[in-house]
Symmetry: C2
Subunit: 315 residues, 2 copies
């Protein structure tokens, strides 16, 4: 199992290209939660989410033979853009399989980073099938979105920067979907702030990680209906093992709590956060009775959201 040193190594590897994102605070939210909340704003990360850290950490470790083959990922979301940008910066060819109903803004961004896009049907099965066909034909290297120690170590560098900047924390909250961010965060936090509690937050409507953590076995995520589109995936073997070891608790939040948290971040902090990225604040607000006066880290995972409907009223 990877440890704190792997997070440091990842940070060293990515630091020339990944942003050291700002830590932000809000007196409104401090008052609301009666605590000191430090937001690690990965919505400001390149390609709009923490995913870039793991993608870059993985791609920079490929062998020359793997680099020559090129990489592939299947994703409708932030992993697609992260792999596309990381490949472009590392001088590699990237192919991204995307569902044909993907928002135009994400398709444009992924293509803008220089990746080749192959469209598939709108199901996970189709994504996997099309990707496998391409791998068979072209021998591309598959970059998994979370169940890979290099991806996890990259994800853990966000908490590393947060803790280096604000020092001691009593709690840290991160969203959980496939578990890459939560497992990476947990390794960093338990390594640097021994006493801090690590809390994963998940939409109630996609509570497979909550149940998996409770029952000690991975449950599948079956057609979850949540606006937090980045958290619809299920845990992987590797992320689950790390989470069981390091995470103190996984809690769930309702769709309404997610929207309220997102709205607070937009209206009061003036930062654009996607629903999945606001889930960790929703959990913080839900649990704040238990930590009056404490120092709380909250990972805002990403800010990629389709705004075409909002801006259509102006055109």
């Amino acid at each position: 199992m990877i440890g704190l040193q792997d997070i440091y190594d990842a940070h060293h590897r990515i630091r020339d290209y990944a942003l050291w994102t700002p830590v932000m605070t809000s007196s409104t939210i401090d008052k609301l939660t009666d605590s000191q909340v430090f937001f690690k704003c990965e919505n400001f990360q390149r390609a709009g989410a923490f995913k870039f850290r793991g993608a870059l950490n993985t791609l920079t470790q490929l062998t020359q033979e793997e680099r020559d083959r090129g990489v592939i990922a299947h994703s409708s979301g932030n992993h697609a853009q992260a792999v596309a940008l990381a490949a472009s910066l590392s001088g590699m060819k990237a192919t991204i399989v995307m569902p044909k109903n993907s928002p135009k803004v994400k398709v444009d961004a992924t293509r803008g980073y220089g990746a080749e896009i192959v469209f598939c049907e709108n199901s996970i099965e189709s994504r996997v099938q099309v990707a496998n066909q391409l791998i068979e034909k072209h021998d591309y290297v598959l970059i998994h979105p979370y169940n890979d120690e290099r991806i996890i170590a990259g994800a853990g560098t966000a908490a590393l920067e947060l803790i280096e900047e604000v020092k001691e924390l009593d709690y840290i909250f991160a969203p959980v979907g496939g578990g890459g961010l939560l497992s990476g965060t947990s390794i960093t936090t338990k390594g640097l702030c021994t006493g801090a509690k690590v809390i994963g937050v998940e939409p109630k409507n996609a509570d497979d990680a909550y149940r998996s953590f409770r029952d000690g076995r991975i449950y599948p995520s079956i057609n979850p209906n949540t606006i937090a589109d980045g958290l619809r995936t299920q845990l992987g073997e590797i992320t689950f093992r790390i989470i069981r070891k390091n995470v103190d608790s996984i809690i769930t939040v309702s769709e309404k709590e997610i929207v309220n948290a997102m709205r607070l971040l937009w209206e009061r902090m003036k930062i654009l956060v996607e629903p999945s990225g606001a889930v960790s604040l929703a959990g913080t607000i839900k649990m704040n009775d238990s930590f009056s006066g404490k120092r709380v880290g909250v990972i805002i995972s990403g800010g990629n959201i389709d705004l075409s409907e909002f801006f259509s009223k102006y055109s």
Copy 2:
């Protein structure tokens, strides 16, 4: 006429309460404009806009007799919230006259800062009339939104922080409505970066400042139709005098250019900026042919925008 020393004095006066807002950059926008753009993000300022700087600088200079009388402002926008918060922090009573069609989020925020709100009809005339009646009755001290040297000196502290942080600039762009921000910015910039050009940017649909600057006389702003609601006002005698002396050029941008700039800030930089706040970037993009490779400061004036329609789809 006030000068650089007044800006320094204002900065000293407000620094315990006003935020030193972050300077942000974007590789996407640098590439787009072929220059180095430094955004001074006053959308992150307390009460959501640069207005807090001027309000606080003014209120902290009131005499004890004026403090005891209490302050009044009439505003449908950011000045209302700025005066309300500055009064609350300075332990003064504030009364704000707001049009009855003001967005709920602005009314709530103003009330949340502890001000008393008096509603009026939806015209400028009604705002002035109701405010005057209240002043006559209660002897409140009127805080003008821009035509006041203390307000202008406060507004100029944003550029002061920007230049102290990024040092030399070749250009600086600020939106112009009543001219408080532009005049304050121009004093700071001409004082610290002698060679820098100061450009005011105005909506084409509210081009009274453009014409006033060109013709050397103040034109009124008559029912301008622009989404940049903070820029519908006309210049004041004091702001106009400073602008004529210090500003190099005032340019205008279309509604479409404003929306495109706002969308870039939201989608690519993940920051929430109101239309008035995006006008300065719209001007930068419009003029960028003339400054390849230059260092450009852009003041993002505020981030207060009514999001209830956007969030209604989630409820």
